[in-house]
């Protein structure tokens, strides 16, 4: 597709990926044109605007962007975990295995939450109750959703803790959270998420609170669990190194929009959106000479005062007049690789 041709984006066809023809089966998760706003004093903040993405079974999608870009909002919106008000889903659909989660009755959704779709949050300390034994918390889902008795759940829970690398799992099953270090607790939270064998795991900054050596262990564990179970995974991170090393495909978010999506090798090998390039150039590298960093000038835009045009235009070295007016949306630049830049060829 030559730059300049515009794909009109009716609900089902914004340059979604994988590209048409390549998709052999329905993606497990389809987000279509999702728009989420937050009511704030004096107006509305547009946290997600027109987000569309697909995640297939067995695939890891890395969702990357800076704070406030809307990554966590997107994850929570999928499970309808956002408090409403202030959050509102204005438009769009979230299809999980063909079921629209946005319109699903709450009772039905509860059957999906924690069983078919599980989530891991950033800080394991706040995802666990301090007054309950860890093992009981890990197996709560098994007792509620799978109707296991306490002793059945215990047996399964010990096996789960073993499978995620907790030494002496049987003895430590009855420990309380304060007795475990942060990395071990994050493993427990992952075990909790995996308890009901989910088909989709949403991992929201699962390693951000952890030290780098422990982060490596957790990422290895997630990758391994995902490969063994064939589940789909969305890994949210602000660290492009983390997603580059762990994910098959990447979605870069900026100001509530997806600005670039594609295979990890393509996105980081030849970024086609100036924001992706800016993120890469502002990160200090371990493998390059320590020359001067190239920061992205300026600040992210105020999401309550978004003007027309590309939200990145004010910070962009390649911006032209058109960028401030034209509608920007994801368009395919190479098979499976899409950018929301009007001039993707100029990005270098």
């Amino acid at each position: 597709m030559s730059p300049g041709t515009r794909v009109d984006s009716p609900l089902d066809r914004p340059a979604a990926f994988p590209p048409e023809g390549a998709a052999r089966r329905e993606p497990l998760l389809q987000v279509r044109d999702l728009e989420i706003t937050f009511q704030v004093r004096g107006g509305e903040v547009l946290a997600n605007r027109g987000v569309s993405l697909d995640v297939a079974a067995g695939e890891t999608l890395g969702l990357v962007g800076e704070s406030g870009s809307g990554k966590s909002v997107l994850c929570r919106a999928v499970l309808r975990l956002l408090p409403s008000p202030p959050a509102r889903t204005k438009r769009g659909r979230v299809l999980f295995d063909g079921i629209d989660l946005i319109t699903l009755p709450e009772a039905k959704l509860r059957e999906i939450r924690g069983t078919d779709i599980a989530m891991v949050f950033q800080n394991p300390m706040t995802s666990l109750s301090p007054v309950w034994p860890i093992g009981d918390q890990v197996t709560e889902g098994l007792r509620i959703h799978r109707g296991m008795t306490r002793s059945e759940a215990r047996e399964r829970g010990i096996a789960l803790l073993q499978s995620i690398g907790i030494p002496e799992a049987a003895r430590r099953y009855d420990d309380h959270p304060w007795q475990w270090s942060g990395g071990m607790l994050q493993r427990a939270v992952i075990a909790m998420a995996m308890a009901c064998s989910p088909r989709l795991l949403l991992a929201d900054e699962p390693t951000t609170a952890l030290d780098v050596t422990i982060q490596e262990q957790i990422l290895a564990l997630l990758t391994d669990l995902q490969a063994k179970s064939g589940m789909a995974m969305v890994l949210v991170s602000h660290d492009i190194g983390v997603v580059a090393e762990t994910c098959d495909r990447i979605a870069v978010m900026y100001a509530g929009m997806l600005v670039e999506t594609g295979p990890a090798a393509a996105v980081f090998g030849r970024p086609r959106h100036p924001y992706t390039l800016g993120l890469m150039r502002s990160s200090p590298r371990m493998d390059a000479q320590a020359e001067r960093l190239q920061p992205i000038p300026g600040q992210p835009p105020d999401l309550s005062k978004l003007a027309a045009g590309c939200p990145f235009a004010d910070r962009c070295a390649f911006a032209k007049d058109e960028c401030r007016h034209a509608l920007v949306e994801l368009r395919e630049v190479a098979p499976g690789h899409a950018s929301a830049c009007l001039f993707p060829e100029a990005v270098h």
């Binding site: 907790i166 422990i214 990422l219 190194g241 993120l279 502002s282 590298r285």
Partner: protein, 328 residues
């Protein structure tokens, strides 16, 4: 940097302990409560205009050591000298001078700025207290400082809550620079910032360092950041300095297995997926019985490591590592 130059700061065999809360049993047995050894026998020095990166995991004692240097924590043993004179020398003139020449920049610019003071008031307070400029010149000096840290002068009347994280960190830097220090202790100065803003602050630090000839102790957990800013690097693990060397020595020829483990774990922007082996969980809370603190996690540990605390092995004039096998 000539090694012969007298160090600006010399930390010699410093211990920092935190007492645990006194328990009922302590009172009953009339004993002093247990202490946690936050920093044990730390020795390092910092030469003028040099940046030393201090890295380690959370709980390794790096922040505590930085704070002890500024006398924000009492030292339980050892000595800290600044320009050859003990920082514990209580002479008021000396203490006042230390408080001017050594400045700290904190991680979280939200909590380290007074929320009720405007930028101009925050900077003016420091300028007046240390009599850096005559009172009539304060406003002009505030404007100059804002220029130095790259903030528009119009920010002078802003309150911290009306600024972004990156802007606040610039105010934190301006406050530290206001008194024209020789030494900055920066405690995770960019950890709370997004990567695009982090790069702005790192470049600013590099400029300030050249412009003002500052020595910096840069405390951070992010190795790629430390590699970017440091001349020399010191690695801490569980309260001990386990390796020190020039940037090249640490990043190219790391001698301590912990340093090697840290370096291998840094995520890289590679264009392909990395396959990592799955390991058993590491319990960072577990007590260390004796010997090398890293032995329980060390792939090379032998019996000796669990019995004997390794002394620092000198590998070159600038490079040392506290491992029994550092030289092999």
């Amino acid at each position: 940097m000539p090694a012969s130059e007298a160090p600006l700061l010399a930390v010699n065999d410093v211990d920092v302990r935190f007492a645990k809360p006194r328990t009922f049993a302590d009172a009953l047995l009339r004993r002093s409560p247990d202490a946690v050894h936050a920093v044990a026998s730390a020795t390092l020095d910092l030469r003028p205009r040099e940046t030393l990166g201090l890295v380690g995991e959370s709980g390794s004692g790096k922040t505590t050591l930085g704070r002890a240097i500024l006398q924000l924590h009492p030292v339980a043993g050892g000595e800290i000298r600044y320009r050859g004179r003990s920082v514990h020398d209580p002479m008021p003139d000396w203490q006042r001078r230390l408080r001017r020449e050594m400045q700290m920049v904190f991680q979280d610019p939200y909590s380290s700025l007074n929320p009720r003071l405007t930028v101009a008031q925050t900077l003016g307070e420091v300028l007046r207290f240390h009599r850096i400029v005559p009172d009539a010149g304060v406003a002009a000096e505030v404007a100059r400082l804002l220029d130095v840290v790259g903030l528009p002068r119009s920010m002078a009347d802003r309150l911290p809550r009306a600024m972004s994280g990156g802007q606040r960190q610039r105010v934190g830097l301006a406050r530290a620079l206001a008194v024209r220090p020789s030494l900055l202790v920066l405690d995770e100065p960019v950890a709370a910032l997004d990567v695009s803003i982090q790069a702005q602050i790192l470049n600013l630090l590099a400029d300030l360092r050249t412009e003002f000839g500052l020595a910096m102790l840069f405390v951070a957990h992010d190795l790629s950041v430390v590699r970017h800013v440091s001349d020399r690097v010191a690695v801490m693990y569980r309260g001990r300095l386990v390796e020190q060397g020039t940037r090249e020595e640490i990043f190219v020829q790391p001698a301590h297995p912990y340093t090697r483990m840290l370096l291998a774990a840094v995520p890289q922007i590679v264009a392909r997926k990395r396959v990592r082996p799955v390991q058993a969980a590491t319990d960072l809370n577990a007590a260390v019985a004796g010997g090398c603190a890293f032995a329980p996690r060390c792939p090379q540990a032998v019996d000796r490591c669990r019995l004997e605390v390794p002394a620092s092995t000198v590998l070159s004039e600038s490079h040392s590592a506290a491992c029994h096998f550092a030289a092999t």
